[in-house]
Amino acid sequence: MSQEINNNTDPVVSITNLSKRYGNQTALDDISFTIPAGVVFALLGENGAGKSTSLKILLGLEKADSGSATVLGLDSKKRGIDIRSAVGYVPEAPALYGWMTVGEIGWFTAGFYGDGFQNEFERLTAEYELPLGQKIGKLSKGGRAKVSLALASAHKPPLLVMDEPTSGLDTLVRRKFLESMVDVSASGRTVLLSSHQIPEVERVADIVAIVNQGKLLVCDTLDNLKQTMEQWVVTLKDESSELPSTKSTIVLREGRGSRRQRLLVSDTTPECLWQLRDDPVVEEVLVHTPSLEEIFVGLMKSGKTLPASKRVSVDSPEVSS
């Protein structure tokens, strides 16, 4: 079986105006983004935000109501089997056959992929210190997650799709898992990661997309997001004073009615900050670079969708691989 070959300049994943409803529930609402090759792309959102639905549509496991999605240049509506053949997928709760041994599940899955699968699977299991003769039912949760990762990676897919891969894992295993993602990305392959574990995503992601109730709030490189957003901690001279308005886009304001208020601002300018600092009711303004978690919370609480300029383009110079 020959693999799909994708030109490096083309997006690995392209989603255009994708919408999906389940009865009265909107799972995805007109979502568009692209993922360039060789990056770790994190899809963030709370439970039920539409992350898993997006991944399933990409893999051809679900059909979108409208819009289109391509993976490695293949239409996910029509070429689901080819897509699943080419990409590696780690589901949220890897349901593995408990009665099989590690070696048996590798052998079983190898039947669906190319000839090198079995050798690579054995190499990976050795690397993860998984004995081939061990029954999967006897493995720890971390052990099963490693088996799932080995199964998804053994055919060396150009795209590795992971749905909440570290959910329920202990810290050490999580750390190892994340390191493996960086390794995959470093080898020129792409990782599409869905998660709501924000701090760990921050350590590995190149590009972040945040979805809420099916809507895409932002999609940008992590560096860009941090550069264009600031957290201002404003101390007022008097509790009764009103915080002066600024020309910045305020994503989130916390601590209203108290002397100290926290603002998450976007697209600000130094002039805005100076203007605020010079205001007679303001005692002090401290400026921090927000963490991804603070950006996430701000966007989720405000529900604001950032402008389309925050949607990364594949030839964006900021994208590091």
Binding site: M1, S2, Q3, E4, I5, N6, N7, T9, D10, Y22, G23, Q25, A27, N47, G48, K51, S52, T53, L59, L61, E62, T70, L72, G73, L74, R79, I81, D82, R84, S85, A86, Y89, P91, E92, A93, P94, A95, L96, Y97, G98, W99, M100, W107, F108, T109, G111, F112, Y113, D163, E164
Partner: protein, 288 residues
């Protein structure tokens, strides 16, 4: 996209795929199959020796032989479909580069083969053992012949599989499926599949309606269930699968489950009517 080369030809590894899937089915079904066969075999012999007269022995062994084959069929179907749905391992199969309809089709075929093999073995071994202990029980000379027994157990298998698919995908509970199947099994047992009615040539208006419905439903089920009809018909993923893996996404999970129920119900009724069609057709052939 011009730069993308699509060279994943249709099935260079299909033989290997099928072999691996059949290996998995065999490994899953064999322990259940063995257990029921042993219970059935020794159970039938024990029951036969409890009966007082030779005629009583024949009658009770014949009835119990039918019951055990029905239990075998139903259990294999439930293990094949509902337990895998409950354990969410069907999701693993669906993530493989394989059409979900093929997964369903292969499971049906594997279970049907196991059902036929079990029924045949029981039907052949029990009379041999009975004759060794001094009384005759030859299914081919009995009112319920061997071929009818095989067809009957196959019908029970398909009906149970349809129920397991429908309820397994709805509730994902093996216990629920078993509980729902039991009344159906008792009904089958009590009526002896209504075969005697057909054998007596008692074809009324209701039976003709059933026959007509069976023809239509049988055709639909063939088009929808047969694995080699690609890209058409019912989406087996909805019927078989745990559609939403995000455990905490309650609203999505519930919506997906209702979608599955709809598909499962369709499969159930088409299988049921197809089974009735085969039953009527076979019984009428036998009667003639």
């Amino acid at each position: 996209m011009s730069s993308t080369l699509i060279a994943h030809d249709s099935n260079p590894r299909s033989n290997v795929m099928w072999k691996r899937l059949l290996w998995k089915e065999r490994r899953e079904l064999t322990p259940v199959w063995m257990a029921i066969m042993l219970i059935g075999f020794f159970g039938l012999v024990m029951i036969a020796f409890q009966a007082s007269s030779p005629e009583g022995k024949k009658e009770i062994v014949r009835t119990c032989l039918y019951s055990f084959t029905a239990i075998l069929s139903a259990t294999l179907a439930i293990v094949g479909f509902a337990s895998e749905s409950e354990n969410e391992t069907l999701g693993r199969l669906q993530n493989l580069p394989l059409h979900p309809r093929s997964v369903g089709g292969l499971k049906l075929v594997a279970g049907a083969i196991a059902t036929l093999a079990g029924t045949l073995l029981l039907a052949l071994l029990v009379p041999v053992l009975c004759s060794a202990f001094g009384f005759s029980l030859n299914p081919s000379q009995e009112p319920l012949p061997l071929l009818l027994l095989l067809v009957g157990s196959l019908l029970v298998y398909f009906i149970a599989a349809a129920i397991a698919m429908a309820y397994g995908s709805m509730g994902k509970s093996l216990f629920l499926v078993v509980a729902l199947f039991l009344p159906f099994l008792f009904w089958l047992d009590s009526s002896h599949w209504h075969i005697t009615e057909y054998l007596d040539g008692n074809f009324g208006f209701v039976l003709l309606i059933q026959l007509a419905l069976g023809v239509v439903a049988g055709l639909i089920s063939v088009v929808r269930l047969v694995p080699w009809v690609e890209g058409r018909g019912l989406n087996m993923r909805k019927v078989l699968g745990p559609a939403e893996t995000t455990s905490s996404a309650g609203h999505l999970a519930s919506v997906s489950a209702s979608g599955a129920a709809s598909g499962g119900a369709k499969i159930f009724w088409t299988c049921f009517f197809a089974a009735r069609l085969l039953q009527v057709a076979f019984a009428s052939l036998y009667a003639s």
